[in-house]
């Protein structure tokens, strides 16, 4: 034993381990501040999201309901023949309907003056629907039939409370006295509100007929475009990335290709539109406004995204898998197709779906190939017609509606955004599920 006592090194007086010194406090404060910035950033982002979501829902939900005029009437054979004999058959049907409705309302003894002109102002363009019904069901001529037909957009806005009596300026579209008739008809149950299936299944209409407009045809247009994008960009993109990643020699040339693919991914989409116009329409003479051309243009846009994500997921497969396969005597190709590719599949699929979702929301390139405008008018009747007949796409349809003067179309545009978002969400959810399901960790 020695008498040397070991004294612990003295801490400065008054400094306990429990109390932080000034420097530590400063560092901790910096950390707290940083966390606060992070939370604020998230809150700002969330509030934007909430604002966006509420404004989309508030503006878009009304597009799914339609104010309708409910009426039962009989079209006689003579009236049918007379209407079919005119040039503007649809408006002849509207006239017949207006006179029937006027009679019916007068007969019900409502205490308002009802004349044909007023009824015409309150109704949407119903002639097309009527003609279609009687063309398809000729046996209904002479029979009483029940109809729910769209009311004029201003009537709808009045019932939604967006148009008040003081705002109405007497004119061709609506007069103040018409609102008394609307009130009376609502009380009598002739004007009601109904879910608008036509908005989901219908086609685009002229600017004077917002009540009849639907997004259905452009949904089909988007669908065919996505079909082209999927069946072209997935095989081409995957083949290109497998070659580049697994087989290609690493030299200046492949480096150059790699850099250019990354550059392509950053090219603004409108550039692909100009390219599509020049190559597919002016040079290859493909039809204008066709989903096929739209799909080809979007394929160009989606390819780099798919190549990049595929290469990333191929890289993520550990080399041990390849080595083991080669070790038991598999050829290079067998090792890639039997072992590497299946393991990389979830990543490839996720990348593809995200690329497709991006392409689905793209409008700019479609402007140049004639898919924006009054296009989505008819449903295709098969694969070839779906690819080649003029059609629009959802974002293009939304853009077109937003530019029209009647406010009812603005509402339709918001409603279209909801439909588009539902599609995008479904696609993203599928991507997440695929990733969760097939993801392998090492």
């Amino acid at each position: 034993m020695t008498d040397a006592t070991v004294t612990p090194p003295m801490r400065a007086k008054g400094k306990s381990l429990m109390a932080d010194d000034a420097r530590t406090q400063k560092r901790n404060a910096a950390e707290r501040r940083f966390k606060a910035y992070g939370i604020i950033a998230i809150l700002v982002g969330l509030s934007f999201l909430v604002f966006l979501a509420t404004s989309i829902l508030r503006n878009g939900i009304p597009a799914f309901t339609q104010t309708v005029v409910q009426v039962e009437f009989t079209l006689t054979q003579e009236e049918f023949d007379a209407a079919e004999g005119t040039l503007l058959k649809t408006s002849a049907y509207t006239d017949v309907f207006v006179s029937k409705l006027t009679e019916q309302v007068s007969a019900q003894g409502l205490d308002v003056e009802v004349d044909g002109k007023a009824v015409e102002r309150l109704l949407g363009k119903v002639g097309g629907d009527l003609r279609e019904f009687y063309k398809e069901n000729p046996d209904q001529i002479g029979q009483p039939a029940q109809f729910q037909l769209a009311a004029a957009s201003r009537v709808e806005r009045y019932l939604q409370g967006k148009l008040t009596r003081d705002m109405v300026v007497d004119g061709r579209f609506l007069e103040k006295t018409d609102l008394d008739i609307v009130d009376a008809l609502v009380d009598a149950g002739i004007i009601t509100s109904a879910f608008d299936w036509n908005f989901i299944t219908g086609t685009d209409t002229g600017v004077d007929n917002p009540g009849g407009a639907g997004i259905g045809a452009s949904v089909i247009g988007s669908f065919f475009m996505m079909l082209v994008v999927l069946f072209l960009s997935l095989p081409i993109g995957v083949a290109a990335s497998i070659y580049l990643e697994e087989f290609a020699p690493k030299n200046r040339f492949t480096d150059l290709i790699e850099v250019n693919i990354s550059n392509l991914a950053a090219v603004p989409s409108i550039v692909f539109g100009i390219l599509g116009l020049a190559v597919f329409i002016q040079f290859a003479h493909l039809p204008q406004s066709a989903p096929l051309v739209g799909g080809l243009v979007l394929t160009l846009m989606t390819l780099p995204t798919i190549v990049i994500s595929t290469r990333a997921s191929l890289k993520a497969v550990p080399p041990s898998i390849r080595d083991a396969a080669l070790g038991v005597g598999a050829s290079k190709m067998q090792s890639v197709f039997h072992h590497v590719l299946p393991l990389a599949m979830p990543g490839i699929l996720t990348g593809t779906i995200i690329g497709l979702a991006q392409a689905l929301g793209e409008t700019a390139p479609l402007l140049l190939i004639g898919m924006v405008g009054f296009v989505a008018r008819e449903y295709p009747d098969g694969l070839a017609s779906g690819l080649l007949d003029p059609n629009s796409a959802m974002p293009a349809q939304i853009y077109t509606w937003a530019a029209r003067s009647d406010e009812a179309f603005f509402e339709k545009a918001w409603g279209g955004i909801i439909v588009l978002l539902l599609f995008l969400m479904t696609m993203n959810i599928i991507a997440i599920i695929l990733r969760r399901r097939f993801e392998r960790r090492w």
Binding site: L88, G127, F374, R377, A384, S405
Partner: protein, 342 residues
């Protein structure tokens, strides 16, 4: 692999489509965004009432539409160009260069150009062309001298106008509406205020002075709108002091947001425009390639349908939307029947 088969079949369809493209069965229309609403109404009704498919109608402005129209003859070019002004000599020449020689000009009716402002904004209720010129020209006449436009408020040059900052949203140069605005308002104002005479006195030739009279100030108080009227409306919504240039039909669809100003004391309406009292109106046209008639099914029928009395006449759906119908519609109908070119 099945995806390879799928790719092959898609490629096969692509190849087939190259031949299918030779038989386009719908009419392709592009051009003026002022004519677009009318064309879309006609396209819908045409598709509903005939056995032809509905034509495809694109927008983009008169000049852009006529440029595409003049690209050449063939199935991959448009058949009809909508325009809110008459075709220019230079455009006819450009057309001829590309082989588009026989062009049928169809006048569908008239449209008024109105000046409107926010319904709750300052009292912009009466304008003269001179007021618009004084507000928007780059050089104006002040006390007998031609100076760079010093006005920043409407009341600076006309005490009857509100004491509000000058801010005008006018159609961009690719719109046909711009040309009408320049010729019927700015140029008239230029003459009325005597600025044109002053320019000629200062040594300008008459042609140069006329051109100089069409210019608009570039210091930000006059804003070119290259989009549709909806964009102008959005700007007006955000700027109580803003004055916007609209088509009559667009204004009539938005009377709850806009108030309209009279021009030279006349309020714009279909009646005052058809009588010619309201000064700022212009004819609307569309142009057809004669070479496409008989090749594109439904092209001639579309043109005939468009100008039929039931459609473009005073009781038709176009007039109901805001088109001022052409009193000489019968001549236009006869011209289309005979396929008379320009």
């Amino acid at each position: 692999m099945s995806s390879i088969k799928m790719t092959a079949s898609v490629l096969a369809i692509t190849a087939v489509s190259a031949t299918a493209a030779m038989a386009r069965d719908n009419v392709q229309v592009a051009g003026s965004s002022t004519v677009l609403p009318y064309a879309s109404i006609v396209a819908e009704v045409f598709g509903d009432n005939t056995d032809f498919p509905a034509p495809v109608v694109e927008s983009g402005g008169s000049s852009a539409g006529l440029k595409r129209f003049c690209e050449g003859v063939g199935e991959n070019t448009i058949d009809v160009a909508n325009a809110s002004r008459a075709i220019r000599e230079a455009e006819v020449a450009a057309c001829a260069e590309n082989g588009v020689t026989d062009i049928i000009e169809v006048r569908i009716g008239y449209d008024g150009i109105v000046f409107a402002s926010q319904i709750g904004g300052p009292e912009f209720t009466a304008f003269e062309p001179a007021d618009i010129f004084n507000a928007l020209a780059p050089k104006v006449l002040v006390d007998g001298a031609l100076v760079d436009n010093p006005h920043t408020k409407w009341s600076d040059f006309n005490a009857d106008l509100p004491d509000a900052d000058i801010l005008a949203f006018i159609p961009g140069t690719k719109h046909g509406t711009r040309e009408v605005f320049e010729e019927k308002v700015i140029a008239v104002g230029c003459e009325e205020t005597g600025a044109m005479a002053a320019m000629i006195e200062a040594g300008m030739s008459e042609d140069d002075a006329e051109d100089a009279c069409l210019a608009v100030r570039g210091d930000g108080l006059s804003v070119d709108i290259d989009g549709d009227y909806t964009e102008t409306l959005a700007r007006i919504d955000a700027n109580p002091n803003g004055i916007g240039v609209f088509g009559l039909a667009f204004y009539e669809n938005n009377t709850d947001k806009l108030k309209v100003a009279t021009m030279s004391g006349v309020a714009p309406s279909t009646e005052t425009i058809s009588t010619g009292e309201y000064p700022v109106s212009r004819p609307l046209y569309f142009y057809i390639k004669k070479a496409h008639i008989g090749v594109i099914p439904g092209l001639k029928e579309y043109a005939q349908f468009f100008v039929a009395d039931e459609v473009a006449g005073p009781d038709g759906p176009l007039a109901a939307y805001g088109l001022v119908s052409d009193p000489e519609l019968a001549e236009t109908q006869a011209m289309i029947d005979a396929e008379d070119t320009m």
